[in-house]
Amino acid sequence: MAVTILGRLAARAPVPVFVAMGRDGAPAIEHLLKSGDIDFTATPRHANILLVAGRTRESDQPYLDRLHDQMPHPRATFWWGDAHSDDIDEARRSASADDPVAPLRALYRKLIGGSYASETHRLSDEPPAPWRGRGDHGQGGEGMMGGVPYGRMMPMPPTPDIRDGLALDVYRTQVGPFMPYWPAGLILEVTFQGDVIQSAEVVQPPYPPRDIDREPFDRLLHEQTPLAQIERTRATHHLACIARVLSLVELPTLSRRAQIVAARIRANETVAIGPLRKAAARAGLMAAIKPGLGRIDDDLACELGGPVRRAAGHVLDSRNDDPTYTRLGFTPVTQKQSDCQARVAQWFDEAEQALALASAAPHILIAQGQLAEPPWALRAPPLDYRVTELLPGLEWSEALLVLNSFDSAALCRMAPLETP
């Protein structure tokens, strides 16, 4: 009897969801954020529902299975986005258009109520290093060469550390595609010594930038589009990147506020970014990012283009040779050093400027033409420079900051698939 009371209580609690961000899952996240009774968890272990937002690649299927099996019972997966086989029944799928909150809540209530069977594990049940009985020198024990709780290989021989010369064990592992504050889809083969990264290689490039960001720029290629809409999309894209950096430095409320502001901008409401920026400055956002972290040299910044180039101080912007912009008195905003701090400051400045432009010219149409800046024109060629050359020697939290300081298009170009 006690369990049912607890069950009813649990059903009313916010739904613990672990999000596996797919190709363009961001709109779903904004819906969920606004609804408020969805609780995003840091690991699948804390969640009951795995929300697969957006389209995922075929190669991600094993990773999704692993994530699904890591969730505690009662568990379920919820596919948001339409590119999925229709064998999954109606309760656990929803098209990308409508709002996923209601079905999620209903699914969660059914799960807790027990009327919905918890999904069994998909991967095989026996341990990968099966126990081959006790060895002759007495090795073995439970989980041969692996011990409790998970049989695995013993560590690699030690290699001298790059920073302080102590040759200790190296921990080489793949860090997966679906993690909170991790560029969606990116898989890195990272070798740690302690918590400092020794070396990293790309195993799988991240997903290309979100369609909703590129849609107005693509439409511009073949017809006139209102200036306001282009600037609003630019502002929302920058705010989404800022939100990720904010939550990395442990300011979750500010990051949620930034995402909600981005959602309202997309819904064409006029919202001011000033107070958000002042709150972030007061909380010490700029102080938290080490100056000089993730500094890239100028010519690389030029190739990357977009906000990264302007963060390096180059006054190049395809907008200033466009008549409508010059009439509105547009001058590109730049920073000086091209490191994480400069890029975040650049995002803030550009978002404010974009909103000012959008409000200044609500109904001006831009003539059809090639305006797409590199971050939004995806077809740009991948660079030979790898983002993973920035990571060695960095501590894990700093490495995450560097990874998140590039917008997703720049990251795609800098982390193409390694040609073995």
């Binding site: 024990g141 060469m145 011990g147 013993m154 010369g165």
Partner: protein, 200 residues
């Protein structure tokens, strides 16, 4: 056998057993925290001997030391979680004999000698008496302890950190050459780094 005696025997048992277990567990981390358990038991015995400050200070100090011991143990030992059995013991029989011998002689001495017994009056504020002692006629010990602590700090920093004023620590000392600028004199230590057998 009032409450204090029972408590004493329980703590004594914990201390001795966990002390013995420390040396026969495989996993390093478990060994260091077993040692912490035995120290806490000893600390509590001291509190029973109404020296509360010393007892709690032992618990406090040992918690920190065992934490550092666990950190270093994990940093340097081959398989810190004891996944493969660790028989890292040499001259086994000799050490058992030494341990038992010392224990036997000490207990023999204890049983033989008669101790004068004038127990401390429980009302004594042990911390205050220690304080007066420290500031009073044994101030010299207090200050020399301070200087030795400084010496330890400097020594541990020099030995353990890599950056030094005269080049990094792992450049190794090279014996001076016979004639100036020549080949370093003396026997060259064999280059193979003395890494112990690999557990493969």
């Amino acid at each position: 056998m009032n409450v204090i005696d029972i408590a004493f025997w329980i703590f004594a048992a914990i201390a001795v057993i966990s002390g013995w277990r420390v040396f026969c567990t495989d996993s390093m981390v478990r060994a260091s925290f077993l040692l912490l358990l035995s120290f806490i038991a000893v600390g509590l015995i001291m509190v029973l001997l109404n020296a509360p400050y010393l007892g709690i200070a032992t618990v406090f100090m040992m918690a920190v030391e065992m934490m550092v011991m666990a950190l270093f143990m994990v940093m340097f030992m081959m398989n810190p979680a004891g996944l493969n059995p660790m028989m890292m013991v040499h001259q086994h029989r000799f050490s058992i004999a030494a341990g038992v011998f010392v224990f036997a002689t000490l207990t023999g001495l204890i049983c033989v000698t008669r101790f004068t017994s004038n127990p401390v009056d429980p009302g004594l504020d042990s911390v205050a008496s220690l304080g007066k002692e420290l500031l009073g006629n044994s101030m010299l010990i207090f200050e020399t302890a301070g200087v030795t602590l400084l010496a330890t700090m400097v020594a541990s920093v020099i030995l353990s950190s890599r950056s030094g004023r005269f080049g990094t620590a792992d450049t190794g000392a090279v014996p001076p050459p016979l004639e100036p600028g020549g080949e370093p004199a003396g026997r060259q230590p064999e280059q193979h780094s003395g890494h112990a057998h690999h557990h493969h």
